[in-house]
């Protein structure tokens, strides 16, 4: 019988471990990998990737009817929504402060504090707070949320190049983690990590959001940028070695494949099932390229992706 010696890679680097939660709140650790995703035959993969469920601070009226039906009446109450998310298997709650968006109500710091507090008191798992993705408003509401959650080590996003000083400062002051978001480009991702470390944020208080492209909408770019970031990290580049987070639910549910139920070709198949598979496949592919946290929307996706992660880590 021919002798087969499987080649293994001798990686020198390791992904930083980032802890969320603590101080009375349950805590989780992501990152720490010394090998490519799930390849435990050649290196340690100490923390399995986690699932965050997205919760919004105002009722998401434009969401797909399938999402609305799945969540029911908790959608109008972020606290109740977060509680239900925990029951349905969330490891982390990702609260989107959408009402602060100028088009969605333009609420300010007070509302952000109130809703952050609601979610923090409703659940005891770690929390991520996401701004409305409008630079000035992000700063206002994220700083407010940071203050309410002081010491509970939440993650705050998005931290972009233009507001990184503000977000880094508030993370340092209140003991939180920054989500550094860059537009699908390896050098920009590294650059932002360097800027954050330069202003004093510890590398173990940074998560990278490489910007998610959904299946059919640029997933191959995200996939390859994440593979390259992870390979660089394992090759010893500490400034690309931050755990990665992908906003899978948001990106897949906004696409035509999920958005519209009618007027589409029969070759696209059945609407609800297709929407779910769109989110599930996007999640699974990005987990295979190095995602440490995937932010999901549909409870069925959560269950399926969770089961797949368990099967991948138990190999």
């Amino acid at each position: 019988m021919p002798a087969v010696e499987v080649p293994t890679e001798k990686w020198t680097g390791r992904v930083h471990e980032v802890r969320l939660g603590g101080n009375g709140r349950k805590s989780v650790v992501v990152g720490g990998e010394a090998t490519l995703p799930f390849l435990q035959f050649e290196g340690s993969f100490p923390n399995k990737p986690l699932i965050a469920i997205e919760v919004q601070d105002c009722e998401p009226k434009d969401w797909s009817p399938h999402l609305i039906a799945a969540w029911g009446d908790v959608l109008s109450d972020p606290g109740a929504w977060a509680k239900k998310a925990v029951e349905l298997g969330a490891d982390i709650i990702a609260l989107r402060l959408r009402s602060a968006h100028p088009e969605e109500g333009d609420t300010g710091a007070d509302e952000a504090k109130r809703n952050t507090d609601k979610v923090l008191s409703a659940v005891d798992i770690p929390v991520i707070i996401l701004g409305p993705e409008v630079a000035e408003k992000d700063n206002e509401v994220l700083v407010a949320a940071s203050d309410v959650a002081r010491g509970q080590r939440i993650a705050l996003g998005n931290c972009l190049e233009k507001n990184h000083r503000t977000i880094a400062a508030t993370c340092i002051a209140d003991g939180h983690v920054a989500i550094a978001k860059t537009p699908i480009e390896i050098n920009l991702a590294k650059q932002l990590n360097i800027l954050l470390c330069d202003v004093g944020l510890s590398p173990d208080a940074i998560l990278m959001d490489p910007t998610t492209g959904a299946l059919g909408y640029g997933i191959e770019y995200t996939y390859s940028v994440m593979e390259r970031l992870r390979l660089a990290a394992l090759g010893g580049d500490a400034m690309t070695a931050m755990p990665m987070i992908c906003t899978v639910g948001e990106e897949s549910w906004r696409q035509k494949e999920s958005k519209f139920a009618e007027g589409l070709p029969a070759s696209w198949g059945e609407h609800e099932e297709r929407s779910l598979i769109w989110e599930e496949v996007t999640a699974s592919i990005l987990l295979n390229s190095g995602a440490d946290i995937v932010v999901l929307r549909h409870p069925k996706t959560v269950a399926l992706v969770k089961a797949a992660i368990d099967k991948l880590v138990s190999a």
Partner: protein, 450 residues
């Protein structure tokens, strides 16, 4: 792995006779290394050198063809572990499995559905690739009949799955000319299966779940018997095993040039899954992670469409991004008075802005200019997205006839083009939109509706 020019030069006569058409043997060697010419141009190369060069230039993963004609499956010949290192060349074939115990009318219907299934994406028609017919009845005659039935209804490639040697032989008698894949040689029957593969000139799958060493041993046995076209089934069925084993096989082939395992891999995601969704998820993983043929246990457009989309995405050459065909696109149910935005034909740019327009609640028109696949800023910097080109595109696609107004919205990043574009399109109002696609909804609310 491929040899360098200098390495090839060592095998040449070094006489500089020029009969190959090149001034020196070194020049010829360089051209050979670049795969620009055939070694046969040299009349004096020794047989020994020929064999050494052919062995060295053999691809690390053999290219295997299943089926014949236009829709044959070609897999293998991959050269990298990660698509960004170069590209993935031969997309895995999606094959639908049916069983000879299924009622004939259901089989006929399924074969028609799968054969004619086609879905359009970025101007490409995507479709499924074949059928695996499993001898579940344990009845040889039934299997042969089923193979004949399927063959009579489709030109798509077939995989014949049976351990009944006479039945396999009879089925091959009927369909061997269309080069089906024989599944599978095992420890128990590998000599006989290899005989059948040789007799009928068809590729042979080798199944051995015990270990990679035993798999390699079995491959050695069938290739030793003269079978050249092999497909591997290492028996890795669930998510974790599949990822680990397929990664190891790809590495052995590429990094160790391990010939005995340098073949494409067949997977059965349905056997590692408990539901149709899970099968889709595992099949998706196998598209990205190293499968050559993926046998699906169920056919449904709901699953096929995302999987075909994923395959298209992962197997896109990173050096040559997918381009949108230039033209005017309807986003939502646009009407003549809907807003008109202009953008470039880089697919990611198109999808960003189209996605935002889609979710903005404003049905709109999106005019895509041919910028040779570059994004807005890059195309502008390269002189491929200027006022002249935009104006030309407006005229070329008769935009003025499709819409009732005369306003066009430019991406904010190329606001500088406004003046020139006003000169090029004197009857038009040139509006400057936001820099980022994500802000287009807000922009339309304020500037268009307001």
């Amino acid at each position: 792995m491929a040899l360098t020019g200098i390495e090839i030069y060592k095998f040449l006569p070094k006489t500089n006779c020029k009969e190959c058409g090149f001034p020196t043997c070194l020049a010829f060697a360089m051209k050979l290394a670049a795969k620009g010419v055939e070694l046969s141009l040299c009349p004096y190369v020794s047989d020994e050198a020929k064999e050494a060069l052919e062995t060295a230039s053999r691809p690390p993963i053999r290219l295997i063809t299943i089926g014949s004609g236009e829709r044959k499956i070609e897999v293998g010949n991959e050269v990298v572990m990660f698509r960004h290192e170069k590209t993935f060349y031969h997309p895995p074939g999606f094959v639908v499995r049916l069983k000879d115990t299924d009622p004939a009318d259901e089989i006929a219907k399924l074969v028609d559905e799968v054969t004619s299934y086609s879905v359009e994406r970025v101007g490409m028609e995507l479709s499924l690739d074949g059928f695996a017919i499993e001898n579940d009845s344990k009845n040889g005659g039934g299997f042969v009949k089923c193979v004949e039935l399927v063959k009579s209804k489709t030109d798509l490639p077939l995989i014949l799955m049976s351990s009944d040697l006479p039945a396999m032989d009879q089925a091959l008698e009927k369909v061997a000319s269309s080069k089906p894949l024989i599944y599978a040689a095992t420890k128990e029957n590998c000599d006989q299966m290899a005989e059948l593969a040789k007799k009928h000139q068809c590729p042979l799958a080798v199944y051995e779940p015990e270990s990679l060493s035993e798999l390699a041993g079995l491959v050695e046995q069938v290739t030793g018997a003269g079978v050249e076209d092999v497909v591997l089934d290492p028996g890795a069925r669930d998510f974790g095993q599949s990822l680990t084993t397929l990664t190891q096989l790809r590495r052995l082939a590429l990094k160790k040039s391990f010939r005995l395992l340098g073949y494409p891999i067949i997977t059965f995601p349905g056997e590692g899954a408990t539901s149709v969704e899970e099968e889709a998820l595992l099949a998706g993983q196998q598209v990205a992670k190293y499968a050559g043929i993926i046998v699906l246990d169920r056919f449904s457009p709901t699953v096929s469409y995302p999987l075909l989309t994923l395959r298209l995405n992962i197997y896109t050459d990173p050096q040559k991004p997918i381009q949108m065909a230039p033209g005017i696109y309807e986003i939502g149910s646009s009407k003549p008075d809907s807003p008109l935005c202009v953008t470039t034909n880089f697919s990611l740019t198109y999808f960003s802005i189209a996605g935002e327009l889609e979710s903005s609640g404003f049905p709109s028109w999106l005019l895509v200019c041919d910028t040779e696949g570059l994004s807005v800023l890059t195309a502008w910097a390269a002189g491929k997205f200027d006022a002249e080109r935009i104006a030309k595109t407006v005229k070329e696609f008769n935009v003025a006839e499709r819409i009732s107004h005369r306003s066009v919205i430019l991406p904010g990043h190329v606001a500088v083009l406004r003046g020139e574009l006003e000169e090029e399109l004197p009857d038009w109002k040139i509006m400057v939109g936001p820099r980022e696609a994500v802000d287009v909804g807000g922009f339309l609310k304020q500037q268009w509706a307001g």
